[in-house]
Amino acid sequence: MEIKSMRFKANASGALVNTVLQGNLKTSKGKFVTRRAETIKELDDFEGTRDAATAIRNRVIDNLDLWLERFEQKALDTGAQVLWARDGAEVCRLVTEIALQHGVTKVAKSKSMLSEEAGLNQALEAAGIQPVETDLGEYILQIDNNEPPSHIIAPAVHKSLDQVADLFHKVHGTPRKTEIPALTREAREVLRSHFLSADMGLSGGNFLIAETGSVALVTNEGNGRMVTTLPKVHVVITGIEKVIPTLEDLSTLMRLLPRSATGQPISNYVSVLTGVKKPAEHDGPEHLYFILVDNGRADAVGSDFHAMLRCIRCGACMNHCPVYQTIGGHAYGWVYPGPMGSILTPLYAGLEKSIDLPHAATLCNQCGVVCPVKIPLPDLLRKLREKQTERGLRPLTERIGLRLWAWAALRPKIYALGAGFGARYLKWLAGGTDRIRLLPAAPEWTLGRDFPAPQGKTFRELYAARQKPAKETT
């Protein structure tokens, strides 16, 4: 997917004045945050479960090569084929080759963020193969001129009911409907023919289970079942970090994933798919391919960002992020929004192509406290800021400003002079009122709010004055 993260600030400004988006963000924030808070209460020991999940993920990523080999062997034993892709381009090449080999003209897809990373739909179309998104949210986006998703769990969360009603009316050529069940029925009717006519099903994978060679899919709409069982070919695309050791581990992680993601105790469907259709079986694919994708993940192993590989893609960090809640997902400019995106985008798509993202956070740590696998997201954002500084990627004015400030802060007399001047200057700017309407040194502050006036003298000055008489008498 083309990366547009360098336009973060402009994107964010646009998002702030998009009234439909603002309304939708408000509604979805309430749902995600409140429902999660309710459902985690059902667990006897939420913190203990988080610790267990963290340990499971650590066990894998600390020996990722070993677990991948185990998974590969087991998957091969079930009749699946395992292919490896270094980057998005290789994903596109492999999928296209598989499609051509099996004479595929139509691919039914359930949601896969990795196919977004790879820009797979465009590649398939270029090869004359029709990709059809069957996740309702992804389908809405696909028929709206291939709009990118704005959320990893709810890709079309930025759209309103009215917008979807207009879109279906226009694209399907049907009478305009305004009830959600009617719109859903319409989508289902359109998609059903695609399920039946697709020659290949393509899915992501929430987890790969090493002990059985299976893929686990966590979905709510049932389209995942159709995509993975009806067509004769099933291709699974996942990141190499998605392996977990056992089915027992899956049950532990499943206590956290739906609760953290959508606030459901369990998703409507949890599918564990193992191997190809056996002779006596009636359904399932005849050919099953796993494409295990690196695309920057291997470089994160053992790096300062190792902990990020624990991520189980629940989206809780973005749902709880004050910045995401304010601007939505598109502003982040790539596949993953919110705090996870501000880390994954620099790691997978390039730090120099996403200068703003590590700074687009208040470091409030709301993400860190909700993360089901305890990824220290603010620490990782800060670490990326360090890397930017080391590589000289920050704007020159900012670098000079920081350097000057730190230089002065190490010299108390100069610092005191500067603070004394600053206090008087700011007081002067306020012009006898209690506020500054335009702050020339930091105009961004006063774009949307005032800057309160200072008292006019520094604490150190007033304190020294207070101490003076006392000193003279002793």
């Binding site: 004050p322 470091l363 080391e390 730190a406 506020r435 930091a442 006063t446 949307g448 304190y463």
Partner: protein, 244 residues
């Protein structure tokens, strides 16, 4: 028993913007029987450097602060953010310098945010203030999620007979300040502050109170830009010490 010797860490923002918060904190500590010393050469704890990715700057300022403050029984700051930086981040800054790491760890263990110090260390029975009116409390992120400061200010505010606390929705949500975030992404920051201010206003409280001046400047600036001239924005030290 000998008086506890407290090194008072003023914080950059209180020094520059609101000296009266510093004096209110001094009054609270002195009333509680402490000997309070304000080291003259103190400047900044280094958190802005650390959060901006300038590790050498953060390390140099941490060393300076450690040297200035390690001789006291306790270090107290009227800010959860600065206290959190010293308590949690200082020891992590010196992974490769064991001597400094030990000194940082020792200082970290003796450093407290003001309300936390008054409640958990001094266990004060009363506070000198006499506030009359309704207030709502904004929990600042570093204090709340970094240091577990939630009940401490509420315990102290409850000692003021004329004060009634009306909790707002989302009191634990970030106000959008975020240090340099507020000037790098001013529009987004102000929009987040707008949500906070909506909650402040909806609470119906006459004042919003908090423990970190950064958040308070952000909230006050947004309230005024929104046209609210009535809601007072106060640091918890001012309320507890009286005269606010």
């Amino acid at each position: 028993m000998a008086k506890l010797r407290i090194g008072f860490f003023v914080t950059c923002l209180v020094d520059l913007m609101r000296p009266r918060i510093g004096f209110a904190a001094l009054k609270l500590l002195e009333t509680a029987g402490c000997e309070v010393i304000v080291p003259e050469t103190q400047t900044c704890c280094g958190q802005p450097a650390w959060n901006s990715g300038d590790v050498p700057g953060a390390v140099a300022l941490a060393k300076k602060t450690i040297a200035e403050f390690e001789g006291f029984d306790y270090v107290v700051a009227p800010s959860g953010s600065c206290a959190e930086h010293i308590r949690i981040e200082y020891p992590r800054l010196f992974a490769a310098e064991p001597d400094w790491r030990d000194r940082a760890t020792a200082l970290a263990g003796r450093t407290h945010e003001l309300t936390d110090f008054l409640v958990t260390v001094l266990k004060v029975d009363s506070v000198p203030g006499d506030y009359q009116g309704t207030v709502t409390y904004h929990d600042s992120c570093s204090g709340l999620r970094g240091l577990g400061i939630k009940q401490q200010p509420r315990v102290l505010l409850a000692k003021l007979k004329g004060l009634s606390l009306k909790e707002m929705d989302g009191c634990e949500e970030c106000c959008g300040f975020g240090g340099t975030f507020s000037i790098k992404f001013g529009e987004v920051s102000a929009a987040i502050a707008g949500r906070k201010c909506d909650n402040v206003l909806a609470s119906g409280a006459q004042a919003v109170v908090g423990g970190d001046l950064g958040c308070l400047l952000n909230i006050e600036g947004k309230l005024r830009r929104m046209g609210d001239e009535n809601t007072k924005v106060l640091h918890v030290a001012e309320v507890l010490a009286g005269g606010a």
